[in-house]
């Protein structure tokens, strides 16, 4: 007798129903991987307050993961879960608005980013927390100022950065070159390097944003700190002659003179670093976030030095300095107290070493660089920031509205590609700023 292998629709529905019920039943009884409770040593389970943190440091960031582990050990009443997000700008607004966002987030401090969240009421004010934890005594004022909107503080800015010129000391020694004191000296150095078939400066602008730092350097040195602050605040026009010249020199004249690698708009930021690592290029105009890469012998064995871009026409230099991103607390944070405690821990004595030694990032606190085992280049950077804080300029793109930034990034590619003149780009920047003023997204950074 043979058994029929035919199945009726009823069999199929019965099987599907049974399978669904089984899955449901299993789902109901299977415990979660991490309940966030402490039931060690037979003690009654203690429910921990959960803190979800979103940041942009990368999944495997040893330094930040170490800080999270230390916090969870030191604060048994809380449990921080860290998630690295690569597309924070796309998902954060929606997540917070839906009440499904993180408790603590590491996000851009500009008016077009954290400013939008703050004005929409999606962030918790931190003024009371600053008092409660006496952050004003420990944390630098700039970290609070950059995370304040309409007179209310919403976060703590982090990652102190400066932008300047990194150079290959071996190449400079071999070519008999000295660190330039003036813009003309700098051009002479470029000319000498070019004559030896060495790329004077590596520059990759396919990612668009690196041009923003170049513009920050030249507008700070040509227009000056106060005028730059006024322009960022919408009080001075971006098509003033000083700003036009700040576009003309690096994006037109120095390109035409052949002081960069070819195909700037097709080379990525990482590839331009490769040109510098390999010794094909002698200099890089970029930020101190690259100190870790430039002191890593796996990348480059030549010693790397640093100088601020020199004075142009004997004007006082105002090298860009600022903050990378900042920590903020969501309006719907399940445990605001826990979130504040985490922020407090992030910039405490216990963690400064993790930022400096583990990640080569400068936290926004008063510190003595000699207390830490860090590279000479990072130590130099810290000392420069501490000694010249008052005269430093600005990283434009972290302070300007988003529509201005897109005009800046697209426009500079067009200037480099000869699609647009420096004057046209300056006019477009001013038009973008006027639009931002109308939309109320401009940050006032004037004293």
């Amino acid at each position: 007798m043979s058994t029929s292998l035919r199945h009726t629709r009823r069999d199929f529905l019965r099987f599907s129903g049974g399978l669904s019920a089984s899955i449901l039943a299993v789902a109901c009884v299977t415990p979660g991987a991490d309940t966030g409770t402490d039931d060690s040593a037979g003690e009654p389970a203690v429910e921990k307050e959960q803190i979800l943190v979103w940041d942009q440091f990368g999944e495997d960031s040893v330094g930040v993961n170490e800080i999270v582990v230390k916090f969870n050990e030191a604060h048994p009443e809380y449990h921080v879960t860290r998630e690295a997000q690569t597309n924070m700008r796309d998902i954060l607004k929606t997540s917070l608005d839906a009440g499904a966002g993180p408790d603590v987030m590491y996000y851009d401090t500009g008016p077009g980013f954290a400013g939008v969240l703050a004005r929409a009421g999606l962030l918790l004010p931190l003024d009371d927390a600053y008092e409660q934890y006496a952050w004003n005594e420990r944390i630098l004022p700039i970290a609070r100022e950059r995370a304040s909107f309409d007179g209310v503080t919403y976060g703590i800015g982090n990652e102190l950065e400066i932008v300047g010129t990194f150079y290959n000391e071996r190449i400079f020694d071999e070519q008999g070159l000295a660190v330039p004191d003036t813009h003309d000296d700098f051009l002479a150095v470029c000319e000498a390097l070019k004559a030896q078939d060495i790329i004077p400066m590596a520059w990759g602008n396919q990612n668009k944003w690196p041009a923003g730092h170049t513009f920050s350097v030249f507008s700070g040195n040509i227009a000056g700190k106060d005028n730059l602050a006024a322009a960022i605040s919408g009080e001075l026009a971006w098509n003033e002659p000083d700003f036009v010249e700040s576009i003309q020199i690096p994006f037109v004249d120095m390109v035409d003179a052949g002081y960069y690698n070819t195909d700037i708009n097709a080379v990525t930021y990482d590839d331009s670093n490769l040109l510098f690592y390999s010794g094909q290029a002698a200099m890089r105009l970029t930020g101190s976030w690259m100190v870790d890469g430039y002191t890593n012998p796996d990348n480059i064995t030549d010693p790397v030095g640093f100088f601020f871009y020199p004075s142009i026409r004997e004007k006082v230099i105002a090298p860009p300095a600022g903050l990378g991103s900042g920590y903020f607390v969501g309006r719907d944070a399940q445990s605001p107290e826990g979130a504040f405690a985490y922020l407090n821990f992030l910039f405490s004595d216990e963690t400064i070493g993790d930022w400096l030694e583990g990640m080569a990032m400068i936290p926004p606190v008063r510190l003595n660089a000699d207390d830490y085992s860090i590279s000479d280049l990072l130590r130099f950077t810290i000392i420069e920031i501490q000694q010249n804080a008052e005269s430093m300029g600005f990283n434009i793109d972290v302070l300007t509205p988003d529509n201005y930034n897109t005009m800046m990034f697209d426009g500079f590619q067009e200037v480099i590609g000869k699609v647009k003149t420096a004057q046209e780009q300056a006019d477009d920047l001013e038009a973008a700023m006027q639009e931002a003023i109308e939309r109320g997204t401009v940050m006032d950074i004037t004293p």
Binding site: V116, Q206, D263, A266, D271, Q413, V419
Partner: protein, 304 residues
């Protein structure tokens, strides 16, 4: 023995009702998912397009047709639209022509049909992001294959940063898109060729038609339904193109490769103008629908 209850005309028998219910049971879940993930967001997008909203603010300021009026004067939109039109024309004609040519060549008896079909179809199984990364390397200005080959054969002057030059960036992206898509056209056309009536081809041969005449007057007309379907599909894709452009150039250099979808993303997510971005997405939807509808109607009229 009882007589079965009479079934009135227009009324379903219990068995038919059970069948209908079972049918609904299978359709409704998919319909709900479709309504939730497609219909609802579509109507929300229409609503957002009538507001000035930054994506975060609890208040969505109603501006009526303000965003659409602003669109008319937005030079970047017109530039992006121009790029989409170039994409639609070249990006539709080229892969279909290549697919058709290869399909007919192999259909007429080339050896290793399965091997060729597999090779040509391979790019289709790769994700857009993977394709974009691969072609980024191929176009790389410092060590990309294209420039290496050009330098290797003494055409150094033609080597350039293909994706960084406003003159070549859009065409370079199109080459990538064509490479990634012609395999799909090829496979569909190959399937269509299985239904071509060989006796008509043979009759045309006996009547003295040469290869080109047989191809144009006998084979292509029998593939018209397949070609219509592929063309409509490609036209819609041409207006919606996003992944390759976003990964490879982000619309750059400058705005030289900006298309409507990347411009929409930029406005909605990078500049926090969600209302305006929604209006842009509506324009994109209307263009796709209108173009496909017109094309299909024209084809139908031709057939009649």
């Amino acid at each position: 023995m009882t007589a079965a209850a009479p079934v009135r005309r227009g009324q379903l028998s219990p068995r038919a009702k059970r069948k209908a219910l079972a049918g609904w049971a299978f359709v409704v879940p998919a319909l709900l998912i479709y309504a939730f993930f497609f219909v609802q967001p579509f109507f929300y997008s229409i609503y957002y397009s009538l507001t000035d909203w930054n994506g975060a603010d609890p208040v969505k300021q109603f501006v009526g047709l303000g965003n659409y009026i602003k669109l008319a004067g937005d030079s970047l939109l017109w530039q992006a639209l121009g790029h989409n039109l170039i994409w639609v024309i070249i990006g539709t004609v080229s892969p279909i022509a290549i697919g058709l040519l290869l399909g007919v060549l192999i259909w007429t008896g080339a050896l290793g049909r399965v091997l060729f079909r597999t090779i040509y179809f391979l790019p289709v199984v790769l994700s857009e992001v993977v394709i974009a990364i691969i072609w980024n390397w191929i176009y790389h200005p410092l060590f990309g294959a294209v420039n290496q080959i050009l330098r290797g054969i003494g055409l150094d002057h033609l080597a350039r940063g293909w994706l960084g030059d406003p003159q070549t960036a859009l065409l370079a992206l199109l080459m990538t898109a064509i490479w990634s898509y012609y395999g799909f056209c090829f496979v569909i056309i190959m399937a269509g060729l299985q239904n071509v009536d060989i006796s008509l081809v043979e009759a045309a041969t006996i009547d003295g038609a040469n290869g080109w005449q047989r191809f144009i007057h006998v084979i292509v007309p029998q593939l018209s339904h397949v070609l219509t379907m592929i063309t409509a599909f490609t036209l819609i894709g041409g207006f919606n193109v996003f992944g390759i452009v976003f990964v490879m150039t982000q619309g750059g250099p400058g705005t030289a490769t900006q298309v409507i979808a990347t411009y929409t993303y930029r406005k909605a997510f990078q500049e926090s103008q969600v209302g305006y971005g929604a209006a842009l997405s509506m324009v994109m939807t209307l263009l796709s629908l209108a173009t496909s509808y017109i094309f299909i109607r024209l084809r139908e009229r031709q057939e009649q």
